[in-house]
């Protein structure tokens, strides 16, 4: 990075300690490092979200990159009253749909997720390994389940909004979340 960038913050600034809203404000003023911190924070969520659509990791990474660049371009349009992660996921999904349209693979009839029948693309070996790590609660979670926990527990997103992002009904999102909690609770107890 060049040392003469616009709005360049002091080099000693530790972005990790900042709240997301502060980072967004800084990114609006053109501070790339602040936006890079947002990228680091939400990269996993966007990646798992896209992988939940059955997208390969390498393709998901390309879409994630485009989504973040787009988000930086449009950061002035983001309303701080809303969820930044939700906004990011919306951009990522649109990016994914655009890519499919370009490749003429976009099927408008069946683009909804069925949360109850999530694809599990892990190899049997990976499943065995995941199940063996009982103390790791997250091991064995499918991408969509990880996103569900992130959005609900960590972002405190309402089920209506989660359902919108996951292409499901509110009731379905609620049901899947509570089933997931029961599963994790059992694992936790054991």
């Amino acid at each position: 990075m060049s040392g003469t960038g616009f709005g360049r913050p002091p080099l000693t600034r530790n972005y990790e300690s900042f709240e997301s809203n502060d980072l967004i404000e800084m990114a609006r003023k053109g501070q790339k490092q602040a936006f890079s911190m947002l990228v680091k924070r939400h990269y996993g969520t966007v990646m798992y979200y896209l992988m939940g659509f059955g997208i390969k990791k390498s393709d998901a990474e390309d879409i994630t990159q485009e989504a973040f660049i787009n988000a930086f371009r449009k950061i002035d349009q983001f309303k701080t009253s809303g969820s930044f992660v939700g906004w990011l996921l919306r951009i990522a999904r649109n990016q994914h749909i655009d890519k499919l349209r370009k490749e003429k693979k976009f099927d408008t009839s069946g683009n909804e997720f069925d949360l109850l029948n999530l694809p599990d693309d892990r190899t049997p070996e990976a499943q065995v390994v995941s199940d063996a790590v009982v103390d790791d609660l997250y091991a064995g979670l499918k991408p969509q389940e990880r996103v569900l926990i992130e959005l609900r527990v960590f972002q405190q997103m309402p089920f209506s909004e989660i359902a919108e992002h996951l292409g499901s009904s509110e009731g379905n999102a609620r049901l899947v979340f509570h089933r997931l909690i029961v599963r994790l609770r059992k694992k936790f107890r054991s």
Partner: protein, 154 residues
């Protein structure tokens, strides 16, 4: 308490991001909810399940270089806009000054423009041809004529 009510309690605890007194009291009597709340606390402390995926250095470098291009374009746009606004403002001010100076040139009696309200009003009145000036012929203007109160008696 039913399962549905337990779910509501858990949902409230998640949405509020804290456990209130009522939830705490309920958790003392409901081992399921107590266990769920403990699990949620553990999840919160251990971090998000999506945080195990970290961007590679190459990914971040690629993003940052794209951001530089985007931000440079934005900055250029802003500078260009500022320049256009500045030029427009300068032109407006110049035009205003020019029009004022040409106005004062056409009124030789007036040497300077005063800023006081009274003087300004006087100046406006002076330039207003509809207002009769002191000493001017009053008969030149239409006069209203009312009947005299004594007319009726006559």
């Amino acid at each position: 308490m039913t399962d549905k009510e337990c779910k509501k309690i858990i949902d409230r605890a998640i949405e509020d991001n804290k456990v209130d007194a009522a939830t705490e009291a309920h958790a003392r009597t409901c081992p399921k909810c107590a266990s769920t709340l403990a699990l949620l606390a553990l999840l919160k402390t251990s971090g998000s399940p999506t945080s195990d995926l970290k961007p590679s250095a190459a990914f971040l470098a690629s993003i940052e270089s794209s951001l530089t291009v985007t931000a440079a374009a934005t900055s250029l746009k802003a500078k260009l806009l500022a320049a256009v606004v500045g030029a427009a403002l300068t032109a407006t001010i110049a035009l205003t000054i020019f029009s004022h100076s040409s106005k004062s040139e056409t009124q030789p009696g007036k040497t300077s423009e005063t800023t006081s309200l009274t003087s300004s009003t006087e100046a406006t009145s002076a330039s207003n041809p509809a207002k009769p000036e002191a000493g001017a012929d009053a008969t030149a203007f239409p006069q209203l004529k009312f009947p005299s109160p004594t007319d009726e008696i006559k």
